[in-house]
Subunit: 369 residues, 2 copies
């Protein structure tokens, strides 16, 4: 623990990202990447970047991307602000909006980066527990009365994959006095977006990312859609040149090729239905997912064989060994040792052959189906 840094930083454990093995052998169903490669137009746009562009500073405002995204979303370019991944937008929003005496509010369980960002900022955290009833995940009542300057709602939620209808979010944003940041990292796989709200209300910002829907997790590109006045303030807090010239080229080409992206979304959504049904047939319970992953809950008693012969464990005791057994077979999924998640496994929807590998492995490990 360093004496040179702020106490809240020294006390924080920091964020632990999902495993990113450097080899190509593992089937990665752990960090919600799109299983399909980016559009061929992305590769062409990146190949067209010149040494002269590498040598010079990139366009600071990512103007070309903003114009392309504005056209896709039916807003003006000043309602788009680009970031070095959606995570940078989250960090900037907290720093711009939440002072040391203020609170940031977010749901739990939800994206595990939020509490780390709040910790490091040294602000208060208002944690809003999801009302979980079986596979039904509901926002808590009176969420709009929360004492906070910034309220973050992931929709569809991670790690549950559940979707909150936009009408409910509209009512919350109308009643909430601060800023509502709707983290739509997974919206491309969902029935609808909260996009209408940014045109209706002065206090709603959407987070979008190219990481999932556009197969560009490797290029770190996210953006905000929101009222121009509010985005101008966030821009002051953001780095001055956050997007490199390659990321700008890739993102602009990706968002301009909606037809390609939509095709990958449709394939993921179709596989989600198939994988969900197969997991349920194996005795797992899961909410209907509107995302590109599912959160599979183990039964209270699980009969399984993880390589040491048949045994029976509670769901919470079984999740870790199942995660490890899958990892040994080259299948990475996500297991959170966090309250209300210990009996659950988050599984990204992969390409059909990857999903088959996962389902086959689970079929061998789980004995009670």
């Amino acid at each position: 623990m360093s004496k040179y840094v702020l106490p809240q930083v020294a006390a924080s454990a920091g964020y632990v990202p999902g495993e990113q093995p450097t080899g190509n052998e593992a089937i990665k169903l752990n960090t919600n990447e799109n299983p399909y490669p980016p559009s061929p137009r992305v590769l062409a746009a990146m190949a067209a970047v010149t040494p002269e562009q590498l040598r010079k500073y990139p366009p600071p405002s990512a103007r070309t991307f903003r114009e392309a995204a504005a056209q896709v979303h039916g807003v003006t370019p000043d309602m788009i602000l680009a970031f070095n991944g959606g995570d940078e937008l989250l960090s900037v929003a907290i720093r711009a909006i939440v002072g040391p005496q203020d609170a940031v509010a977010f749901l739990d369980p939800s994206y595990s980066l939020y509490p780390v960002l709040a910790e490091v900022q040294g602000c208060r955290q208002t944690i809003l527990p999801y009302t979980i009833n079986g596979q039904d995940w509901r926002l808590p009542a009176n969420i709009a009365q929360t004492d906070a300057k910034l309220l973050i709602i992931v929709n569809p939620n991670a790690p549950s994959g559940t979707f909150e209808p936009i009408a409910n979010l509209r009512a919350i944003a109308r009643a909430f006095p601060g800023v509502v940041l709707i983290d739509e990292a997974y919206v491309d796989f969902a029935p609808e977006s909260a996009l209408p709200l940014v045109k209706e209300l002065p206090n709603v910002i959407l987070l979008r990312t190219l990481s999932k829907g556009y197969s560009l997790a490797g290029m770190r590109f996210g953006y905000a859609i929101g009222p121009a006045e509010l985005l101008r303030e966030l821009e002051k807090v953001r780095d001055s040149y956050p997007l490199d010239v390659m990321a700008q080229a890739a993102a602009t080409a990706a968002i301009s090729d909606q037809a390609y992206a939509r095709e990958t979304w449709a394939k993921v959504v179709a596989e989600r239905a198939r994988v969900s049904a197969a997991l349920r047939a194996l005795g797992l319970a899961l909410p209907d997912s509107s995302s590109n992953f599912v959160l599979a809950q183990l039964p209270s008693q699980v009969r399984l064989d993880v390589g040491q012969g048949p045994q029976t464990l509670t769901g919470s005791a079984a999740a870790g060994p199942i995660y490890e057994a899958l990892k040994q077979r080259g299948l990475l999924i996500r297991y959170f040792r966090l309250p209300r998640l210990t009996d659950k496994l988050r599984i990204t929807i992969g390409a059909p052959a990857e999903n088959d590998r996962l389902l086959g492995a689970l079929h061998n490990i789980l004995l009670s189906h």
Copy 2:
């Protein structure tokens, strides 16, 4: 002004980056880019990045780059921490080290981003005025007694290009109770680095960037060299995946090709001597630069023709019109409307033909030589 953000954010004007024209016509001598393209190995490494790498999250810790940089600098990889440009390191250092009641100290005139970062963080600023005597720029006395948690010294300084001997920095860092961040953005053009200090002292961090020395301003890649314990703390505050896979590939290849980079530095240093002599012959005064730019001071009375016939102006009144006249001729340089800089022009050292264009234009504009 938005009611949704913190008062210090609303009150800030934000940082204004140097102009980045989108066309290729202008000769850019305004933002200190390297005039030579990146190493051919950089282009090869970027071309080798696969669609599969674009689709997946990048290595969060930039391990391969850190190992390459550690080898170049003779430190261990845990003494290297990569950032999305040097600016991200500056922002992270302030957020990790400087609380709302604390101060960050920096020199003035110096990099104009520092006060903006402090403003947005809402911390105190201790501004340490350079002692400027003619072309002699000296750190103020008793700088180590400054009341601040973080002291930032750019060396070589921007915008003066002047160099502070490492022995002086060692004495300051030994006496200063907080963290000393030595911004070595321009060190590749200087006689020596403060690298030995990070091995001797627990409170020194160096900022390095690939933007200048390695011709990669377009790729946004900077890094810290410092004590492992301190860098672990900064890593908690930094974004989890700040470097995209292309930037990692480019930076690793660039720093591994020291021979190529050093050749560009030698050419810039040689041109710096030629340009400095030519500017002095035109009646301008400048400190000896250890950087890839010079800060040229106009005489107290300047006879010039910016297109409206001969006139005589004070140096401070002439700088703006000269900047504009150069811009009209397709030559961008930097002019800061800031205290003690109003009679000075900052000029990046370009390739020989670019420098000739600049010197020719100044020869026509300035009549008194």
